[in-house]
Symmetry: C2
């Protein structure tokens, strides 16, 4: 493929994406295909000869698109949003075009320096304490990671290495492997599954503590668990607090948890994967009160801040904690510019992989095309639309709100037994016009309705609400005895 | 930004990339900037109002590009190649446009199913044993990971979990943490730094065994290390063999190592990050003889097979080993299609992160646009160019080849003391016209010359060789006493 063909193919792909976005409401959010649909549609081997791009794009349209769930559709209310924006997509093009790997400064100075710059921009936009920023004189700094899962694991590994050093000093007779085997971590049962996974992968015993009735970590439960572990000769090491939990978007209280962590030398990691974006709005910054006591703070611009996956923003108070855990010295990694300072970080030592893409471009483009005003307006629109949906629910006597709407999330259910809500969800999933998930709180099954698409308007809220109410009428007319829909069938 | 502006911005970015590639030889491969060059060129805060894309693209060109090291330049001979191709870039556009997250099948059926399909294609292209493929009836399968580092770590974690279960059965009285603390892993000192890092991050004691004079892992050294560990009450768990080492591209002998690993129940992971691509050429498949005994095999299409970073291909003989180590069950992750089979894998349980991009698109596009013939021709061209370079070196009595050229890598030096080669490298780095790294073998410093760019032609080899010889003349004329260039200054 020469550069002229690339231009044609590239323009066609740009047009395809633009048209996709313009017409996205015309597609059912969930595809009609059955498992294994694609297998027979494609040959079993790589073609011998190269093929024309026109044929490939046609196959993409005719074979792939029918099997796509449309995460960018205004009818998509599942999980949390996954970001997509025009400037971010263009950023991906240029990043792929350069195809540099930011192993160290010399490997592409702009790759490191732009990341430092935009992570400072982003940290300031969130009003994070200055000590977290690369622009501070201290050892704090920000870095782009792939995901919140990875950020949680990275900080767990750093906390583990740090605790090991600390405990070894206190108990020099203890074997290092012995110390590692006695490290413990803490979180609430509202934390994302990736937190549990990080404990598993990092071989650190994780205490999943029951949250209170509001879904917040209980101060007493945390203190009790720490004390019990210490009594049993274990070494508390890591605490993951959640700001905006996956289930019902609750917020742990950092100003309560932080001092406890400080007292016991525990690394406090803040997982604000979804809701962290809202801290660019002054009216929500109180929800991260106490963040100055955190060792690390993470949120995903690739969730709710319009930057395409992957772009997970992680800040630490002391970048040496990362490098102390991650540095491997080899001759081909040495760099002429030996700066271990956070103004010119060796980002490969801040992460798991050696290689890294030039992801700062898409973040930079997105922040500039939207500007602070545009980003704030985007988030406020989502929050307003969630409130509109909550109002519609509240005004309908057949429904109830399970907990107050938070950010773009509204949790609701049909009043009465769980079976009705389950049947409603079954029907919605079968009809494929809207996509939501169910969850449970205190034994009550409910549906999570999340404002996800950046194109979401009031009329889209009404569309989804109409779909919900029309199916609810079917269920209630049949008095909850509708046949043919197992209540156990779908737990999404 | 509306879709019309996106079209304009997108076309402009496509043109930018096409022109960049067309004119890439005009740019010095290494940038002229000094550390911190970007800091004052950009404002310290996100702009309040959104900005026009024309201004942003202009800044990209005027501020970012001067700080870019050109990994795609035919003058770039450092590290190993990082892939970039036109179909792959277009694949990234469509992937970013859909912005789906392949958490499970329902989350986007095509995202899972295309990945299964193209990983089968790729596995067949490499002539991997059928049992590694998703299309086999057994539990084997392939998956796209972010990097070889990540793949090594993932398999280490899986091996760890598997060994834990095995040892626990044999020694039920042993505490799980105790068992984990006694697991050991093995590799040679020619393995990539990421292998050492995976041992650090996975808290498994890694024995880095000295390679023989050819850079291959010694059978006896491995057996001795394993036996010694067993005698000391430790549990051998994981072995990382390298096919195409980073330093001098050596190949461990899988048919020697494999039976040993089988005997001692050790997970054999094959890191063929760079050279694995060459197994699509029949004439190189003998280098992976014995691969049927491996538990996992990894290579990076994003290195030497024209697919943009990130695209690291990992196959395992038994995918249950991954899921057993990685599964966390939460209600919002349950899927209606409960297929834990490798035809429809739950890929989130095969990796560290929960989220994943639709990376199969770019792999699919690249394989189809090039076809098997095109991919083979691409690799053979690189290998031929490396041989051409080696011939030029050999014909010049001032130089010597350190080890036979392998794949796209030629290791050479100025005959005599290391200082001369060091000075040559210093000069080349200062002049910034070509980019290579130095390394050492048996006390001899040498320069690694790697064919990297997909646009590389014979004339480019001559360009780089002329640059090398012209600077060598300067050094030898000055009889090795050139002032002003510290031999310790650059170790790249």
């Amino acid at each position: 493929m020469d550069s002229q063909q690339f231009r044609q193919f590239g323009y066609a792909a740009i047009d395809y994406v633009a048209e996709y976005m313009e017409t996205i409401r015309d597609r059912p959010v969930l595809p009609e295909v059955e498992p294994g649909y694609l297998n027979d549609k494609l040959p079993d081997e790589v073609p011998e000869k190269g093929e024309a791009w026109q044929k490939i794009l046609q196959d993409f349209d005719q074979l792939i698109m029918p099997g796509v769930t449309h995460w960018q559709s205004p009818r998509f209310h599942a999980f949390f949003p996954t970001a997509n924006s025009y400037p971010s997509i263009v950023g991906e093009i240029l990043s792929a075009g350069l195809a540099v790997i930011g192993i160290h400064w010399t490997a592409s100075p702009a790759c490191t320096e732009l990341e430092v710059k935009v992570m400072n921009w982003l940290g300031k936009l969130l009003c994070l304490p200055h000590k977290f920023l690369n622009s501070s004189p201290g050892p704090g700094g920000g870095v782009i990671q792939s995901s919140a899962s990875e950020s949680t694991l990275i900080c767990l590994l750093a906390a583990k290495a740090k605790s090991l050093r600390r405990v070894k000093k206190l108990h020099p007779h203890l074997d290092e492997q012995e110390i590692v085997s006695r490290l413990t971590a803490y979180t609430s049962d509202q934390a994302n599954s990736s937190v549990e996974k990080s404990g598993m992968l990092g071989s650190v015993q994780l205490r999943i503590l029951p949250a209170d009735e509001n879904g917040e970590l209980k101060r007493e439960a945390l203190i009790e668990a720490i004390k019990k572990d210490i009594e049993n000769g274990l070494f508390p090491c890591y605490m993951i607090a959640t700001l905006g939990s996956t289930g019902i978007c609750t917020f742990d209280k950092l100003d309560v948890i932080g001092p406890i962590c400080q007292q016991y030398n525990i690394w406090l990691h803040v997982d604000a994967a979804y809701a962290g974006a809202a801290f660019i709005l002054p009216e929500y910054q109180h929800l991260m009160k106490g963040v100055e006591d955190a060792s690390s703070f993470n949120f995903n611009p690739h969730k709710w801040l319009l930057v395409n996956f992957d772009c997970s923003a992680l800040w630490v108070q002391d970048a040496n904690d990362l490098t102390d855990a991650f540095v491997v010295r080899r001759i081909y990694l040495e760099d002429k510019q030996e700066n271990e300072n956070t103004q010119l970080p060796e980002y490969r030592n801040w992460q798991i992989s050696l290689g890294r893409r030039f992801r700062a471009i898409k973040l930079w483009f997105t922040l500039r095309v939207y500007g602070k005003d545009g980003l704030q307006a985007f988030l406020r629109n989502h929050i307003n639309l969630a409130n509109l949906f909550a109002t519609l629910v509240e005004q309908d006597p057949r429904f109830e709100i399970v907990c107050p709407p938070r950010m773009g999330l509204v949790c609701f259910r049909i009043k009465g037994e769980n079976q009705k809500t389950q049947k409603l969800h079954d029907l919605l999933m079968e009809r494929k016009k809207v996509y939501m998930l169910t969850a449970s709180l205190n034994g009550k099954l409910f549906i999570r309705f999340v404002i996800c698409s950046r194109m979401m308007k009031e009329s889209d809220v009404h569309f989804s609400w109409n779909e919900i109410t029309s199916q609810t009428e079917n269920i209630l007319m049949n008095n909850g005895t509708l046949n043919g829909h197992s209540t156990n069938e779908i737990q999404e």
